[in-house]
């Protein structure tokens, strides 16, 4: 029998992991919902942002907060580059070609990172204490990452609901043609969406590097998980993606403690497959 304290710790860690996963999923969901293309390499862009923070801190000795801003800028630039160079030429291609173009990007980024920086695991050391609350240990960096990702998501929410561009972006995701008729230019909105998605990747990168070591294959673990959360939450549904992120992170964290890390992921993926059959439009979709 497993000590209930361990289990409680796993639950808490699951919640903290859920915050960052939700951030990743929201960024990808925004792009997926608006442009209708899955960026298979989205988490690999996050990986590049993590490297950006790492080098800014260790080589150029920037303070960590400033490096985080650098990471966001890197994310925006990467998002724009991906859209202009890869996505815009294939906007009207069949889905399988779109999958593959961003899949090719995944191979490219992973191996280019290996070429430049080798497969060493690199981490940024942040001297922060580990909190002890009632016998369970909570890592402070994780707590900060959780808090900041909630703030970032709130920011995204305000951007999408309170600004003109944000409203236009939501309109595109509902009906592309009608939005164009209303005088908004979908192609320009795509660009803005890619930049915002990139910025989310940058924030996620900055928050992940203080918890995990970065290496070229970092996207391997988080990538598939992020798409699944997106789909599970339902396309374009921010709230759905948010809840789905916490469900998946709980399964992975608790399953990892109860059985093994891999089995935690296996259970999460199997639940994803089954839910796709039962509720193809996402967990909060209305049945049609």
């Amino acid at each position: 029998m497993i000590d209930p304290l361990f289990l409680l710790e796993a639950v808490v860690n699951g919640v903290l992991l859920g915050g960052v996963l939700a951030l990743l999923a929201l960024g990808l969901n925004l792009i997926f919902g608006v442009i209708d293309i899955v960026w298979i390499a989205y988490v690999d862009l996050v990986m590049l942002c993590m490297y950006a923070v790492y080098f800014l801190v260790t080589v150029y000795h920037w303070p960590i907060v400033l490096a985080g801003v650098g990471s966001v800028v890197t994310g925006v630039i990467l998002g724009l580059l991906v859209h202009l160079l890869i996505i815009s030429p294939i906007l009207s291609s069949p889905p399988i070609n779109q999958f593959l173009a961003t899949g090719g990007l995944l191979f490219f980024i992973q191996s280019f990172a290996t070429l430049l920086w080798s497969t060493d695991h690199r981490s940024v050391r942040v001297n922060l204490p580990v909190l002890e609350v009632g016998g369970i240990f909570i890592s402070f960096p994780r707590l900060i990452a959780f808090g900041l990702s909630i703030l970032a998501m709130l920011g995204l929410y305000l951007f999408l609901t309170r600004t003109f561009v944000g409203t236009a972006i939501r309109a595109v995701s509902q009906d592309r043609d009608a939005t164009a008729l209303m005088g908004a230019n979908p192609l320009r909105l795509y660009l803005v969406t890619s930049a915002v998605g990139g910025a989310m990747a940058g924030i996620a990168g900055a928050l992940l590097i203080i918890q995990y070591a970065v290496h070229p294959y970092f996207g391997g673990a988080f990538g598939p998980l992020t798409f699944m959360i997106c789909v599970l939450g339902g396309l374009g549904s921010m709230f759905g993606a948010f809840v789905a992120a916490f469900i998946m992170s709980q399964i992975i964290s608790v399953g990892g403690v109860l059985i093994s890390t891999e089995m935690g992921y296996v259970v999460a993926f199997v639940i994803f497959i089954v839910l796709m059959f039962v509720r193809p439009g996402g967990i909060f979709a209305k049945r049609t």
Partner: protein, 330 residues
């Protein structure tokens, strides 16, 4: 005899005498590369049986992995000959394909969603192989136990690579034959209609679920067979080279690169990607780790953007266009 048929006979004849050409010390290596091209082309062809009808699966890594691992574990632990083990592996894969394929076609999981569900399946298989490390060897992979020298046919292990060359070539030709049979059947008309519009197809009386499930099962069974032959040839299986997203993507890349709507497209694409990666690997050696894959990824992105019908498909289309233009002006 038409020119096309003559060409086909000529190509098969050249391939058949290939392993006996005097290539000196290069021969081992060339045979090794061509065997891989044959097997992966076969797998690519199996994938495009589904892919060309709009079922863009990213789960073929799972089918390949189940095929390869089931035979090798049955042989290693129970001494079961791959002749029977391979059959068991194919049946297991078919079962998996039905478990995934039936709900997918029943509940109309299509497009991006189909891709993501099958992607999850290939990750599940890869993670299960890693998790059950006590008997699958985990990430380190598993080697086939060598057979006693007098029973190589029973164990399907041959010291001479040329035996596998002919096995793989037969497999490849078998794959092409299946392709042609499917292409000429009523099923391909039905599947084309389903790929265009499921509801419309159902309304004219096509049994959508049955056809989709049928083609999925066929494709999965062939992929598993490819996995069985591949593991017998390499005598080694690894979760990352036999299952998971990486393998699924590689299969699909090769096919899309060649062109999935033409008989030889998958083979051309596979031959080109394998030749490219072998060339890059030898050219750069261990000097710059990762550069070969970097160039590979770049080439793939460029091909998908600029040659959406695939290399072979685009080439054939442009030749045809030229031919029709000539007949039109004449």
């Amino acid at each position: 005899m038409s020119w096309r048929r003559l060409w086909a006979v000529l190509i098969v004849a050249v391939l058949a005498v290939g392993p006996f050409l005097p290539l000196g010390r290069m021969r081992e290596y060339v045979v090794h590369v061509i065997v891989q091209i044959f097997i992966w082309s076969f797998v690519g062809g199996a994938w495009s049986l589904m892919g060309r009808f709009g079922l863009g699966s990213l789960g073929h890594g799972a089918f390949l992995g189940v095929g390869a691992y089931a035979t090798s574990l049955l042989w290693n632990f129970f001494g079961l000959t791959p002749w029977i083990g391979g059959l068991v592996a194919i049946l297991l894969t078919v079962a998996l394909a039905v478990v995934i394929g039936y709900p997918c076609s029943r509940f109309q999981v299509v497009g991006h969603y189909f891709g993501l569900v099958t992607l999850a399946v290939s990750e599940v298989v890869r993670l299960l192989i890693i998790a059950e490390r006590d008997w699958t060897g985990g990430s380190l992979g598993v080697s086939l136990k060598p057979a006693p020298s007098d029973s190589s046919i029973w164990a399907l292990q041959f010291a001479d690579k040329r035996v596998f060359y002919y096995v793989a070539m037969a497999l490849w030709l078998f794959g092409l034959w299946v392709w042609v049979r499917v292409d000429r059947s009523m099923a391909s008309r039905a599947m084309e209609a389903i790929g265009e519009d499921e509801t419309a197809a159902a309304s004219v009386g096509i049994h959508v679920t049955r056809f989709k499930l049928g083609i999925t099962v066929l494709s999965a069974a062939l992929t598993a067979l490819g996995g069985v032959i591949l593991v017998q040839y390499l005598a080694y299986a690894n979760p990352d080279t036999m299952s998971g997203i990486g393998v699924s993507l590689r299969i699909v890349f090769a096919v899309v690169l060649g062109g999935m709507y033409s008989l030889l497209g998958p083979s051309v694409g596979t031959a080109l990607t394998i030749a490219l990666s072998e060339f890059l690997r030898i050219y750069f050696g261990i000097k710059l780790i990762g550069i070969a894959e970097t160039i590979y990824g770049l080439v793939l992105i460029l091909c998908i953007i600029f040659l959406p019908a695939g290399i072979y498909g685009s080439l054939r289309d442009s030749l045809r266009r030229r031919a029709t233009a000539r007949t039109a002006t004449a």
